[in-house]
Structures are given as C-alpha cells and as structure tokens.
C-alpha cells in the first residue's frame, strides 16, 4: 500500500520501487555478513578490501611495536621511518615467503588449509540455510573420534580402511550436528545456544572417552588415544611434505557442497528455507526437517575436518582438544568466503597461507605469530562491517555496479 522509505520498517512495502540507500538495515546483518545471495562483484570486492585494510592495520601494529625503530624517532626521524618500513617489509615478506615462497611453503599452506576448508564449508552450509552453526568444533571432535575409532579398531587394506574411517567421521559429525537441528526442529531451541553447549559436551565427552579402555593408548594415564593403523593414516601427496590426501577430500567437498546447494533439489530447499522460512513453509517444504538435514550435512563436513586432525598428521592420535580452534576459525572463513563453497576454498587457502607464513615471520622477522591471529580477526571485523569498508574506500553502493569507485588511497 505504500512506497518503502515512508516508514523505517515497511511491512508490506514495495521494496523495489524505492531504493533506500540512506538506511542500512541492521536486521539483515547476518544476511549481509554471510553474503548469501550477493552478486559476484560484491562477493569479491568486500573480502579483498577487508584483506587490504587488515594488512594496513597490521602494518601499523608492527610499526608501533617495533621498539628499536621507535627509539630512533627522537634522534633520527628519517632513519626511524625507513627502519619502520623495513620492519614492515621484512615481516610481510617473511609471511609471503613462508606461505608461497617455496615448494615446502606451498605444501605447508595446503596442509594448514585442509581442515580450515572443510570446517569452513560446514559453517557455510549452515549460513546458506539461515543457520548459525557455532558447533563445528564439537562436531569435529565427535567426527574425528569416530573416524579414529574406525582407524584403529578395524583391520582392512588402505583402499577400504580410509574410506571407512572417513565415513565414520561423516556419520559422527552428522549425528552431533543433526542433534542441534533436531532440538531446533522439535523444541525451537536456537542453534546458536545448542551448538555452543554441544561443543562443551563434545569436548569433555572426548576427554572422558580418551581415558577409557576403548580409546586410551596402552600404558598411558593421560587422555590420549591409541594410534590409528597405518592403513587408516592419510597418505601424503608428496614424499617429505606434510600435505596429504585430506586436501583432495577437501577439494571434493567443495565441489560436493557447490553441487548440493546449487544443483540438487534438497539444496534448493536449504537455500529457500534459509532465505525465507515462511516462504519455504508456504511452498510446502518441511522446514523442521530441513533444519535437521542442514545441521547433519554441516556436521558431517565438520566431522571430515575432525578426521583430518587425527588421521592426517602426527601423532595420528586423538588427545584432549585435538580439534584446536579450527571450528571457530571456520566461522570467520565462511564469512570471508561469503558462504560460497569456492569462496570458502580461497578463504581457507588464505588462512592456511597465513598460518604457514606466520611461523616463518616469527622465525626470520621476529614478529610474533600472534600477528596472524590479529590479521585474521581484523579481516573478520571488516567483513562483518561492510559499511565500514565501503566508507573507508568511499564506495557509494556496491550493488550499483557501474558507479562504484575504489579510491587508491587509504581513507583519502
């Protein structure tokens, strides 16, 4: 009955007839931040600018923590300036060399990226269906543990043993994720709350199980598991390099998630319910079932990431908290990748590169590896606040392709 913009919150308003660039809609934050349904241009532009912004702020952090150069400012500002620049240059050079500068660096990047990609896909699938799965961590623990159990309790040749262990991890993760979906479908419990809580349950349940006879390594009293059979350990792709077939699994998962979301019938339901649950219900979709299915798929991908952590690297054992922070970094990854599987792949490679390069940076440039975490966090802050990035780079409206201008300077 009205044109939108006449009221801050139009109910049945005709959104198309009146673009309203003056009023960013904060309610659509999750949709904006996750980038579901955004155009390719926007999907690429904001993450790229976020990365650039993060690197600039990272440089400032390096500059202000460079004590030696700071001391020079009073006596020799010129030297101080060039010394600071050298510091920043060395740090970023080391970061680059450590992630892409050699065959070892590249394989280390791929190695670090593997679990990140898988867990990132898990979170992205949730985002696409409108669910915020914070439980990738718990699903990794459960999936990894089941995969490991198959890895040491079953005797089979590699060609059977590895797929079997992977299947176990998928099932374990799917069950743990599906549980949160079931709680949402049956009782309306919000998945953010349930997945966070299920993380704790998974973490401590794994600790408990690791001290039981089923899992605990012989002759040990601490929570550490038996070692996976060599037939279940993921073979490396090249001799002397750590990257293993898990990376190929991750690539396959990227393709599978793409196919699932954009080509399969169930993926259409996922996306429809994610974009508009009322619309999904009206169209005859079983929204409750979709929630369970999405969380199961999401959990299975996280389970794969978990398997990667026990079957893909030394010591091929599960220990307390073996999944690390990957399940949480996955949220950042999914945001950075705009919830698109290919985006997640590249985001995973970027974060993998930062991991691998961070160690080099610490070794050769003396910059603590923690800077990498700061960079990651900054990227996410910028991704989550696209308006901020647009303001910094003076982009009027990214949707309005033709008129967008990207100034070359930083906040000039």
């Amino acid at each position: 009955m009205t044109e939108s913009g006449s009221t801050p919150k139009p109910d049945n308003a005709d959104k198309s007839s009146q673009p309203d660039p003056d009023q960013p809609n904060s309610e659509d934050f999750l949709k904006n931040a996750t980038g579901v349904g955004s155009s390719l241009r926007q999907a690429l532009l904001i993450p790229a600018l976020a990365l650039l912004s993060a690197l600039v702020i990272g440089a400032l952090i390096i500059a202000v923590t460079d004590v030696d150069s700071l001391k020079l400012w009073s006596s020799d500002p010129g030297e101080a300036f060039s010394s600071t620049l050298r510091g920043i240059g060395n740090a970023y050079k080391a970061l680059f060399v450590g992630s892409l500068g050699s065959r070892r660096a590249i394989t280390e990047t791929l190695f670090a990226a593997t679990p990140l990609i898988l867990a990132g896909l898990a979170v992205a699938v949730g985002f696409q269906a409108g669910l915020f799965n914070i439980g990738a961590n718990g699903q990794m623990h459960i999936g990894g543990l089941v995969g490991l159990w198959v890895g040491f309790s079953v005797s089979a040749p590699t060609i059977i043993h590895i797929p079997l262990a992977i299947l176990g991890a998928i099932v374990g993760g799917a069950l743990w994720g599906g549980l949160a979906g079931l709680l949402k479908a049956r009782t309306g419990a919000h998945e953010v709350i349930t997945t966070i809580m299920l993380n704790f349950i998974a973490l401590f349940m794994v600790d408990y199980l690791l001290t039981g006879t089923l899992f605990q390594a012989q002759g040990r009293n601490d929570p550490i598991s038996k070692r996976a059979d060599t037939t279940a350990q993921f073979p490396t792709l090249f001799d002397n390099y750590r990257v293993h077939i898990g990376f190929l699994v991750a690539l396959a998962a990227v393709w599978f998630v793409w196919w699932l979301m954009y080509r399969s019938t169930i993926g259409f339901e996922f996306r429809a319910v994610g974009a508009n649950p009322d619309g999904g219900k009206y169209a005859g979709m079983n929204v409750a079932w979709v929630y369970v299915a999405v969380m199961a798929v999401s959990g299975s991908l996280a389970g794969l990431a978990g398997a990667n952590q026990v079957l893909g690297l030394e010591p091929y054992r599960a220990f307390s908290g073996f999944a690390g922070d990957t399940g949480f970094d996955a949220i950042a990854l999914a945001l950075l990748g705009r919830s698109h599987p290919v985006g997640v792949l590249f985001a995973g490679l970027l974060f993998g590169g930062l991991r691998a390069g961070g160690l080099q940076m610490q070794g050769t440039a003396g910059i603590p590896v923690d800077l990498v975490l700061v960079l990651q966090a900054l990227i996410i802050v910028f991704i989550a606040a696209p308006e901020l990035v647009k303001a910094i780079f003076r982009i009027k409206s990214v949707d309005d392709g033709a008129k967008s201008t990207v100034s070359t300077g930083w906040g000039s």
Partner: protein
C-alpha cells in the same frame, strides 16, 4: 501559512525518484497527492519531513527557504507526519506516546505526566479527537491509534499535516470519523497533504488533487470537474478499465466446504470460531472484514499452513483438515498468499527459482535428486511471457521487480495448472492499477474455467467488484452473507459486527 516545494529532484542510484516536482499547499486546504506505488509520493514526503536530502530544489515556508537535515528540523518548522504504519509504543499509554521525544519535565528531570495528560485532553477536545489519555495503545482499535498519532503531531504545533495512506487501515465507519477530523483541522487553518492511491476518497476529501507519475507531477486538478475514470487515466497514463468485466456466475458442484472451523493463532487466541461456508465451482466468494478478524487464519487452515482445533475442511468431498500444505497444493489448489514478500516469494531468489518454488521437487523440474535448471528456465520464460511479467530477465532477483510484477510471478506460478480451487488473499494489495486489472481478469478467468474461487481482501471495493457472493467476518465468526447486489453500507455495518436485524431496526 504557505508551504511550497519547488523543483524538487531526488536521484537514487539508478532511479530518479523525483524529477522537478512542484507542490504548493496553504493553510485551510486539503491537498491529495495521488499516484501509484513507485510514483515518488513517499520520496517527496520524506524529503519534506527531512528524512531525505533532495538532490536539487527547495522547500519554502511562508516564502522563506528552509533546509531540513532531519525530522527534527521539519517538526521545528511545523511539519507533522502521520505514517501509515503507526509509530507508537504499544505498551505505553496515550499520554506517554504523545510526549515521547518531547517529554515535559519537572525539576530534576522528573517526567511531568500530568502536563502530558492535560495536553492530550486539550487537543482532543479542541479537535473532537476523543481519546482517553491513560488508555494503553495496544488496547485501542486502529482508528483510535490513528487519532493518537494526529494528537502527537498537533502537540508539536504542526501547521502542515502529512497523512500517508490514512484510510487504508480504517473500517468504513472509521473513515467517516476520519473525514470529520480532517475537516476540523482544515477549519482550524491547518494545511493538509494526504497521500493516496484511492480515487474515490481523493475526489471526496480533497480541495485539490496533485497527480504524480514516474517521479513527476503530471497534473493538478480540482475534484469538481473530475471523475474517477479521468483521474485513473492521469494516474496510470492510459485509459483504465475500473470495472471488473464478468458475466453472472454459473455455480456448479460444491468444491470447498468448511464446517464449524475453529482455528487458534500463534498466541492461542481463538481467531476463527465455528465458521461454516461453501464455495462452488464457477463462483467467486469474497470474504470481507477488517483485517485481524480471522480471515488470515481461515486461509492458513484451508491451505494446510495452520492446524485447526475443530471442524472440517473438505475439498470435493475429501477431508483435507489435517492434510499438509504440499498435499493440498497437489490437489490443484492455487494459493496467492496475503503477504507476497513474507511468504509468497523468496526475495533474493531469481524469477526462475520463484517460479518453481512449489513445484521444484517434481518432474519436470526435478527427478527427486537433481534440479533440471534448463527445464525450470524454460518454464519461467514461458510464464513470464504468458503472464506479462515485466522483468529484465528470468535470472534477476525477484526483489528487483515492482510489486505488481512480483504478484504476477506468484499468480503465474499458482495458476499455471488445471486449478480446481483458488484462494487469494489481498491479491492486489499495494500494486499498480495496471497489474490490478490484469490480476482481477486472471481470477475471473479461473472462475470461468470452472474453478471455485475464494477471495479475501480488506479492500471492500475489491470484494464487491469481484465476488459473486460475499461473506463478512467479524471477530472470528460470520457476521453476514450477501449476494453481489448488497450495498456498501450493509456490508460496512456487518464488518463492524452488526447483525442484519440490528441494521433494519
């Protein structure tokens, strides 16, 4: 008191919402701003209210140019706005709402509620706006809530009052009361601008009518030498057929029968309380009533979206009371939902994806596992053509289409089958006249092909124009049944819950 907008231009990225618009209004005058959705009326009013900054042009009050950087400046300058969706805090009292944003205080910042109450009483007695200052907003009917909005504006000494679609939420009787209020304000020397897309009320209420189309003012007329047809032509830009052309109904066998239906809403309130009616093949039955009297819940219960507490819904004799939405859809039931953006469409999805939104799981679109996108695109291309959906392409997001074209996407999707029963809620809400014409003709077309049709609308004109039989809902019950010869007054009274016998007495 003179307000003049001159040369107002507002450029949004890609859209010229206002293009050199001129508008004048003086005290003691009622000006109707008429135009279709998207014509730029609201943009213009938002500029006047300081919500947008115009790209070019100026606002003059009594000859002085003014610049508004926000609603605060506009209020200061004596401009008041009554929005279509009221800006009231539901759990606050009338007095609290009126003082909100402009709270009178005693010493040490204590709220002076007493003074606020007094202000409300003074204004309500002066303008005949009878409202209890201590009533809680959410307990008040919509008509009274609107009065509170008016009092709020008057309490801030507004001299120019802007009403955005003021009658769209009111019952016919409330409209009568509203007209009196408007005339009282006019007599007091206030300048009034009301935004509307309704022809009749513009003719009845206004001293002058300014018509906007595509961001420009295309005509300025006085009601005296105007009629609805001419007005519609100016508004749309071409001759418009205002009457729905249809032949008398030839009802066949009963298709839908509803018996003693009881439905609760989400808060377990009995919204439908023992309703029975039938719809036969080849007839259009209209459900009239002020919104919120159970119409929404009836439709949801019939289409399987909401469980019913008691009673039966039968489709061609088959009990579908507990059937799922999908199984009802499979029985060739077409459903045009009341809110296309909330439930009828998935806005970020493409036209194609929306076209297959309820057939995506079956042949030929899917083999159960895999989507056949080429087949879906073929179907979308065909329907876009057949149902005259104006879109740059089938791959653009449906959110970029106009309201009328969005509604056509839904109609195309729902009617492109051998439909036995059509249920359409608010089928033409908020869409342009051209699309209204088209959708009405499609609905009549379905009837003529032998479908049973149930229409729900809060626009009485629409119900009267389309229906062969009219049912009036009031507080969850049927308050009257009429044939198509019933008068506006009879139906209007039933909408307020008066029984037919009370009308005659």
């Amino acid at each position: 008191m003179e307000l003049a907008l001159s040369g107002i231009t507002k450029q949004f990225p890609g859209v010229l919402a206002n293009d050199d618009v001129n508008l004048e209004v003086s005290g003691g005058e009622i000006l109707a701003l008429l135009g279709e959705n998207g014509a730029g009326k609201s943009t213009l009013m938002n500029i006047l209210y300081g919500l947008y900054t115009p790209t070019a042009g100026e606002i003059r009050i009594d000859g002085t140019a003014r610049q508004f950087d926000g609603p605060g400046d506009a209020i200061e300058a004596g401009i008041g706005m009554v929005h279509q969706h009221f800006m009231l805090v539901p759990v606050f009292t009338v007095a609290e709402n009126v003082m909100l944003g402009n709270e009178p205080t005693k010493r040490f910042g204590w709220l002076d509620l007493q003074r606020a109450r007094k202000t409300v009483r003074e204004i309500s007695s002066r303008y005949n706006l009878d409202v209890d200052p201590d009533a809680i907003i959410e307990d008040l009917p919509v008509g009274l809530q609107q009065r509170v909005e008016i009092i709020k504006v008057l309490a801030r000494q507004a001299n120019v009052l802007v009403f955005d679609e003021p009658t769209s939420v009111l019952t016919p009787t409330e409209v009568v009361g509203f007209v009196e209020i408007m005339n009282g304000l006019k007599a007091d020397g206030k300048a009034i601008i009301f935004i509307s897309h309704k022809l009749t009320e513009s003719l009845e209420l206004a001293d002058r009518i300014v018509i906007m189309r595509r961001g420009r003012t295309v005509a300025e007329v006085t009601p005296a030498n105007m009629d609805e047809e001419k007005l519609a032509e100016l508004m749309v830009g071409r001759p418009v057929d205002l009457v729905v052309n249809k032949t008398p109904a030839k009802p066949g066998e009963v298709v839908l029968s509803v018996e003693n239906l009881v439905v609760l809403d989400d808060r377990d309130k009995r919204m439908v309380d023992g309703v029975s009616f039938e719809v036969a093949a080849g007839e259009i039955v209209g459900i009239a009533g002020v919104q919120g009297n159970g119409q929404t819940e009836i439709v949801e219960a019939i289409t399987g979206l909401r469980p019913s507490l008691g009673g039966y819904v039968k489709l061609k004799g088959e009990d579908i009371t507990t059937a799922s939405a999908r199984s009802i859809h499979k029985r060739n039931v077409a459903h045009v939902p009341e809110d296309r953006q909330r439930s009828g469409l998935v806005l970020p999805f493409s036209v194609t994806e929306n076209i297959v939104l309820d057939s995506y799981y079956e042949e030929p679109i899917s083999n159960g596992v895999r989507m056949d996108w080429p087949a879906a695109q073929e179907q979308a291309t065909r329907l876009v053509e057949q149902y005259d959906v104006r879109t740059p392409g089938i791959d653009v997001a449906v959110s970029t289409l106009s309201g009328g074209n969005q509604q056509k996407v839904i109609v195309a999707r729902e009617f492109d089958r051998d439909v036995t029963f059509v249920v359409a809620s608010q089928p033409t809400r908020g869409i342009d006249v051209g699309s209204i014409e088209y959708i009405h003709s499609q609905i009549v077309g379905e009837r003529d092909q032998g479908a049973a049709v149930l229409i729900v609308s809060s626009e009485l004109e629409e119900i009267m124009a389309l229906s062969d039989r009219i049912i009036v809902m009031f507080e969850g019950r049927i308050a009257g049944e009429f044939d198509s010869s019933a008068t506006r007054t009879e139906i209007g009274l039933a909408m307020l819950g008066s029984r037919p016998e009370e009308i005659t007495s």
